[in-house]
């Protein structure tokens, strides 16, 4: 029930000390390139490069990464199959009309579209995972401030971030206490036990909120929250790598214009 969190992986990754803006630019740039691409090749290329960066530069465990990737991949795969079946085309390979309003067909065009969208999803996902696995939340707060997100939103986000972990810890303890006393042994039992856990967690978080206010008061809270600014300059190597990646990505987008699978 409680595996290693994405955030924990991000806190320990090999690219932790690289300037946050550079990492964000790489991830967001990759997403934009995937959207601009008109062929399946460019997103695949981007996914390959970013996955290599996650595995080799950020040194994320390959098993962790594969597990993370597989969940949305299944979803994308099923969606692609639906697209292949329902979007029509001229070169029909196979067709079936089970109902008067439903026509299923596999055509050359539909395979091309389905595969293209599937690759786009892979590209976008690897870009998102690149950001999530290389940039911990704590670094994003400073970027949010620079992007002029209102202060109270950032402060709230920071307090929520901190309390999520405290709450999770409590839920974990309650859950273990319940399992030790055979709380989830039958289906009926597990429903009541789960409800009890929710109640206990709610009361615990309520208490936690009271304590938080007291702790802040005890330290003279005056509506201000410190932010840990960026103190890691964007080094020449990281910026050069970023530019190289974006240029190569753009070139791939341009060169592969109009290429299709079949």
């Amino acid at each position: 029930m409680f595996e290693e969190l994405l955030e924990d992986v991000a806190q320990k990754n090999g690219l932790r000390e690289v300037n946050t803006t550079v990492k964000l630019a790489a991830g967001l740039g990759a997403i934009i390139l995937c959207l601009l691409a008109s062929s399946y090749l460019a997103p695949l290329f981007i996914a390959l490069v970013l996955s290599a960066a996650i595995l080799l530069l950020a040194r994320v465990d390959i098993k962790t990464y594969a597990e993370l990737f597989l969940v949305p991949l299944w979803f994308a795969f099923l969606s692609a199959i639906v697209i292949v079946l329902i979007s029509g085309g001229e070169h029909v390979y196979w067709s079936w009309d089970p109902l008067p309003f439903l026509a299923l067909a596999i055509t050359r065009e539909s395979i091309n579209t389905g595969f293209f969208i599937f690759c786009r999803v892979i590209g976008g996902m690897s870009a998102l995972f690149f950001i999530a696995l290389s940039t911990p939340m704590t670094d994003l707060f400073a970027v949010m401030r620079r992007c002029h997100v209102p202060d109270f939103v950032i402060d709230l986000a920071m307090i929520i971030y901190r309390t999520i972990f405290i709450l999770m810890d409590q839920v974990r303890q309650i859950y273990h206490a319940q399992v030790m006393r055979l709380g989830y042994s039958t289906w009926r039992e597990s429903i009541t036990t789960f409800a009890a856990m929710c109640g206990a967690a709610f009361i615990a978080s309520w208490d936690e909120g009271d304590d938080l206010i007291r702790a802040m008061d005890a330290r003279c809270y005056d509506g201000k929250f410190a932010l840990l600014g960026e103190c890691r300059p964007a080094g020449f190597r990281s910026v050069a790598t970023l530019c190289l990646f974006l240029v190569a990505g753009a070139a791939a987008v341009y060169a592969s214009q109009g290429m299709t699978l079949l």
Binding site: Q11, M137, T138, M216, D222
Partner: protein
Amino acid sequence: MSSIVLEARDVRYRYPRGREAITGISFHVRRGEKIALVGPNGAGKSTLLQMFNGMIRPDSGIMLFDNEEIRYDTRSLRKVRRGVGFLLQNPDRQIIAPTVYQDVAFGPVNLGFDETAVKEAVAVALRQVGLEGFERRPPHQLSGGEKKRVAIAGVLAMDPDVLVFDEPTTGLDPSGSEDLMELLDELNHDGKTIIISTHDVELAYPWADRVILLADGRIIREDVPDVAFGNPVYVRMAHLSVPTLLELSVELEKRGFTIPERKPRSVLDMVHIIEQHTQGSCCHPQPGTITVCNVDEGETGTLASWVKARKGLAVGAMGTRAKQCAATESIPLEFTYGVIDKCILRALRGQDSLILTTGRMVDRVAVRVDAYGKESGNQVTVIFLDPARRSL
């Protein structure tokens, strides 16, 4: 030095719809004192502590900080809370921010420091607790002892005069507790007044200047540790136990040993008492030496070879920075707490030892050894290691 910094005058407090938690308490704390508030669970320790920085307002009676009555408007409370740093029992409840830096900076930022002052305050506080390099770590990844240190740093960054710790050693392993008590000593040496609440008598007995025994919301006894813990009646009333050293000394006294006016507060004192009885026969004729090294001076990396060249030398480290230095130079440490006493004990057995320490604590070694020499008549030589001669 004997000016009063905190005072309570007949304070009473009753929890809403509850029993009376504090039933008329008066006492005072002098600047630079180490006070232990000792009592069983539910004695009102935490409630009393929270009155010191105005978190709880007494129903009647007054609290004074710096000889001024504490008032409960926002401005006055800010002043009090800046002067009295409070540490909750559970560091998780004290740490607010998502990273160590942000949490330690919380107080200074809200006190309106500018950015460079905040950075400076955070750096100093993290250095004091030995957590340099932890700035970007999120608190949920730290160990219990580290979290405690972060919480302490957060309080220290506001530079309070008085530090109030609610059960500082709960949840820490024995070596962690000893480390923490050493840190408290270090802070006290820097001029901070320290008040702790605890029910660990063994910890409070050697540490405190003064002990306040508390039970059922009242003060049972307020005195130096050996008197406060020495009376079995009070100790029983407060649901505590007599510290082992004190119990032992009482037993020895009954068997004809001469116990000095000042009761033994450490193993060293105890050994001295036994030694006198046996006319010094268990003392080595040629006492060993204690070498003191200030790790802030001289080049790093030279110390390890110096230590290696001397066989049979035991190394102890006093203070967080000295311990870090030993770790970076990979010098194995024999003693990490109660270092001076243990080195004197070694010297009495005729063995040499080296104490790694920093800044002001260098003098403390000499003072402590001198004081021991005067008291016992056993002279132990303290040598200050010249950084330039380390390579010899």
